[in-house]
């Protein structure tokens, strides 16, 4: 069974590498000669532990994760981390939150349940079209951590610098993890829902400085304790085995492509093609300001809801699917994660040109 040629610009779940999908299909009924599917194998078996360890080792190597940090493979998505982070780290004190989009705002709201959440910056008044500068960040004394979302999937902005803070950095990298080189040692905690650059939905990667674990509030569910998950090797209970398996296959693909450095070069090429076109377009306007633009989610609009709808419909007819913007942002959004081939972006730009010529 071959795939039809569709370029899928969905924001997550999203395009995955063909090689990972093909391997998964080929061995779905019989994993490594066991006579069983990977889905049927005990998470306590050597066969599965090998997959788990392999995924962690590849992630550690690809991201150069220092030994001071543990890699946890969990369930629950970013929304679970919105609560788990303050439950584990705020200690009833204060944490600083930079609100640059929808998800950092949700994280801030959740943190207020467990301590004092201080707004370090908020770009809402400008429609979240930019990232605040270092100078704009307001810090509270004795903050337990500084929280930010590296890439704002809905608005299409991305931090181009690492904030300098006295408190440990906590970062939601759900939509740009593995797409650029990151100095993990600068972070107290990095986490990411897997469904954009890593694996199918249902897996959350947490990379946490082990020295920050063990400070959870008494009300913290055991399953949300980083300390417990470190002690149990992410297996206090049954982990999302299939997603971890798919992560391992996806990391094989990242390695084969040349690692994170190659992913970063490709994302620059993909996003560059789109922003170059948008900056010269007589019809389409990008949402994010230069210097704050996301390499993962390119948001733009024509200025007319009718033209936007016509564009999205015409794109889908050409196999360029899921370009509709998020309902709270409107317009169009091209999500161009690691597994999106440059050819997909070229096809999109070609269609944008064609559409512009016939609608200006």
């Amino acid at each position: 069974m071959e795939r039809e040629q569709v370029y899928n610009f969905a924001p997550g779940p999203s395009t995955m590498p063909d090689s990972a999908l093909k391997t998964a299909a080929a061995e779905l009924l019989n994993f490594r000669g066991s006579g069983m599917s990977i889905m049927e194998i005990s998470h306590r078996s050597a066969l599965f532990q090998d997959v788990f360890d392999s995924a962690c080792a590849k992630l550690r190597s690809l991201m150069n994760v220092p030994e001071t940090h543990e890699i946890l493979l969990l369930q629950g998505g970013a929304t679970t981390q919105f609560a788990a982070i303050p439950m584990n780290l705020i200690e009833g004190g204060t944490a600083d939150y930079a609100i640059t989009g929808s998800f950092s705002g949700k994280a801030y709201e959740e943190a207020k349940k467990y301590g004092t959440a201080h707004i370090a910056a908020n770009t809402k008044s400008g429609g979240h079209d930019r990232i605040p500068s270092q100078e704009e960040l307001s810090f509270s004394p004795d903050a337990k951590y500084f929280y930010y979302c590296a890439n704002n999937t809905i608005y299409g902005t991305e931090w181009q610098y690492v904030p300098e803070t006295a408190a440990p950095l906590v970062c939601d990298m759900s939509s740009d993890i593995l797409s650029r080189e990151v100095d993990v040692s600068k972070y107290g905690l990095i986490y990411a829902g897997a469904q954009k650059n890593m694996a199918p939905a249902g897996l959350t990667v947490v990379i946490v400085d082990k020295s920050l674990a063990g400070r959870e509030l008494p009300c913290t569910p055991k399953i949300l304790s980083y300390k417990t998950m470190i002690e149990t090797g992410s297996m206090l209970n049954t982990p999302p085995c299939w997603c971890i398996y798919m992560l391992d296959l996806t990391l094989d693909w990242v390695i084969a492509q040349g690692g994170v450095k190659a992913m970063e070069e490709r994302r620059q090429e993909r996003a560059g093609l789109l922003y170059d076109f948008l900056d010269n377009s007589r019809l389409f306007k990008p949402h994010a300001l230069p210097g704050s633009r996301s390499y993962m989610n390119v948001t733009f609009r024509s200025g007319s809801d009718e033209l936007d709808a016509a564009f999205i419909k015409g794109a889908a007819e050409r196999g360029l699917v899921n370009l509709k913007g998020h309902k709270i942002a409107g317009g169009m959004r091209a999500s161009i994660y690691n597994a999106m081939p440059v050819e997909g972006v070229k096809a999109l730009v070609a269609y944008m040109k064609e559409f512009e010529v016939s609608h200006v």
Copy 2:
């Protein structure tokens, strides 16, 4: 690619229906002609919502879930529910817990964080070899709910009756859901990790009386609020799409086999073969007492650790795999969930006979 003949007695993740696995493999690269894998499709798309709705409708029909109850498809496993249940239902008051094994004990420990957990019964002194009778259950006045685990995977015991209680019944059916007919209207909440009878690990089904929602403690993470999950159709955030898809395929198989009634007949046949043999064996002894025996997990031992090890090794050589008991119970355990064919149990009994003849 065909499967080799292996009978997999793993306690979960565990054997899945061949038909579900074959369909998944066949359409993994191209779901319903979309040109995309089900893993790449947005959870907000009509294509995925259709899968989600289909799984819920089949579950509702198969289990005869009344309209008073909502079906939630969540992440986090039973261990997450150990906390979510008291956070949502205990209201700072008291709840009764029947401790009949490892997991109900863990649920009890977690509940103590959020209110007063009263031990309604505890079978630990007998090595959890039986289920308490109705008369043995101790109720606290004004309990917010009565909690029990329908089937104890580790010890191989199962409740053969529904406790009569003044408080709403809350039941962990992780290892026997869909294997027997249940009057859902008797329950305030039923939940089950999917990885035994329903889907791969990473999905938790919660069936909750809607009138019990909305009572969560202030410290409850939003993701653990039943009210929020009811309001968002289980999609406050991205659900575990692949597992939900596999649930839908597995439910197709249950329906094709004749539904829950057929599952119940088969489980009686499977467990009957094993217990009949065990009750007449000169070598093997079952752990659970008659009247408390599990139809899903049959636990037994030879009386000698060496013979147990030899038995497990010899079984594996015959393609009867994962028969080793849980480390805290020892001995052997045959987990015989819905997808285990009767032929697998017959092959196991034949080997037990052969082993007995040569070792007594």
